[in-house]
Symmetry: C3
Subunit: 139 residues, 3 copies
């Protein structure tokens, strides 16, 4: 059993999902671990993770638009507005999605389903540089 | 420390939750691992996992109905509709719940709370055969 | 590689978030594990976990209020109401947030981002004593 850990730096272009499956798969390959898990962790509270269909981009766009509508900016109940109208909605969208995701590894590869991809979901309007930590554990 | 990994195939009857606690507990018992974690991973983007009360089924039905109302079919904003009106709502419901869930193991048993059960939540209208991967790690 | 597991008992004061970062960090320090993961697991279905900004408390209050509004009490569609009007909303809020959260450990410390804290989120109106299980695995 061993642990292999690596940071991923991801540049986002403002609101939307950025696929990181290939980068995580690469860290798994470098780890030399054949069976176990890869835990992806997002070190932020205004972006998040989601495992989503990666074939047809329209599914992701519909998901993004739906969540935008559920958590609109300029909610009159928001008090935490110092960083702009997209600040508080970003925290809420993060809380409704995921900060950590653990994917099984078998035969040295991520065991994602056929249509699954791992995405970093930027909730802020402006581009940001985001840090993920990938921890591969197993044997 | 060792890793024990097994796939679970679950037949669903269309929209709704199916308990898989006993099946996961069985894999934990077979692993021989006394202390560690069991990670359940759902290899799909139109069904998901949730850990929910397993005593009174009305709690699950209320949860299912509430989410149905939050994410209705035939949303005029949806573009990704080729696979039917339940396709896009399924992806959204999946994103709002969980793809992976990690449960502690102690004394060879899952450390779920008294009222907790692990459920596969089918979001598509039609029955499907679904694959979960259970990874038990520990000593 | 080794496993270190410990229970945390947290008293809540009714609805709201209680930070448990220091308690989890303490268990990580006691484990002596330098690299790996800490999995926090909530053994209940009417409270949950969230990793949220821990600097400005107004961000948490806005998040709590927003979720209260999304999942109001006394929904006429609820059947599971025996334990009071806050029972079913508690289960729904739990399902929309997290039961388990896995945080990386490096150099013997939790690798949370600068603004991240780990919170237990009580969804019931009354104070409760809640149990979390923290599993530290690594080397």
């Amino acid at each position: 059993m061993s642990v292999h850990q690596q940071e991923l730096s991801v540049g986002t272009r403002g609101k939307g999902t950025t696929e990181v499956t290939a980068e995580v798969a690469c860290i798994v390959a470098e780890s030399g671990i054949a069976a176990g898990t890869a835990t992806v962790f997002c070190q932020h509270t205004s972006c998040s993770l989601v495992i989503m269909e990666n074939a047809d981009p329209s599914a992701r766009r519909d998901l993004e638009r739906w969540l935008d509508r559920l958590v609109p900016e300029n909610d009159p109940d928001f008090v935490h507005t110092l960083e702009g109208p997209d600040d508080m909605p970003s925290h809420i969208k993060m809380a409704l999605t995921r900060t950590s995701e653990t994917v099984p590894i078998a035969r040295g590869r991520l065991q994602l389903g056929t249509w699954q991809g791992i995405f970093l979901w930027e909730h802020r309007a402006q581009p940001h540089r985001r840090r993920l930590v990938v921890t591969v554990m197993g044997e």
